[in-house]
Subunit: 114 residues, 2 copies
């Protein structure tokens, strides 16, 4: 396949690379794929090492991309949950293939890199 890679122009490839790329986007999508709706604090707890600012920024991006949905419940205290949109759901089998690739190829890792 021939790729036009210009991250300043949104085409199918760059759109996909924006959604999948980024240090935390795939981990966030992986957790949403297994959990169904999940609250901000639970996401933050399970993403070891992420800062609140970064998580908020990633979630906003993924909402803008139409990949995740933010539902605010008007309760006291207010409850906010995040879930995958239909477009996000279509990524679930791909994420599973990516992880399966990781299981098959982690042997390629020299050992020194974390």
């Amino acid at each position: 396949m021939k790729y036009e890679v210009d991250l300043t122009q949104m085409c199918p490839a760059t759109f996909a690379f924006h959604v999948i790329g980024g240090k935390w986007n795939l981990p966030i999508l992986a957790l949403l794929s297994e959990e169904g709706p999940i609250r901000y604090n639970e996401l933050k707890r399970r993403l070891n090492g992420i800062t609140g600012t970064t998580l908020t920024h990633c979630l906003k991006d993924l909402i803008d991309y139409g990949i995740i949905h933010r539902e605010q419940y008007h309760e006291v205290p207010p409850r906010v949950e995040y879930s995958l949109t239909p477009s996000g759901q279509e990524l679930v089998p791909l994420i599973e293939e990516i992880v399966a690739w990781g299981a098959n190829n982690i042997h390629a890792l020299g050992g020194q890199k974390v």
Copy 2:
């Protein structure tokens, strides 16, 4: 699937997320998947907006992960080419699926986000 996401611990999922994640890794892998061996300057030219420092850093990471191979030819002037390892080659169909997902779901994009 149940995920343990701890980017400080290398397991199949975090290995895969390190390789695929990052703003430039997927674009680099996409170009290598279509071109065969490719020289540094050609990569930089086709990755609109990447700095030399960032490209060098990404290539070093992907070499350490065992995904790409660096071949230096002892010519004058010296020639260096990058290509996918067998582990990297296994990613090619996945990258094509990721781009196909992008083509099917770019409609989810609100329009304002680049």
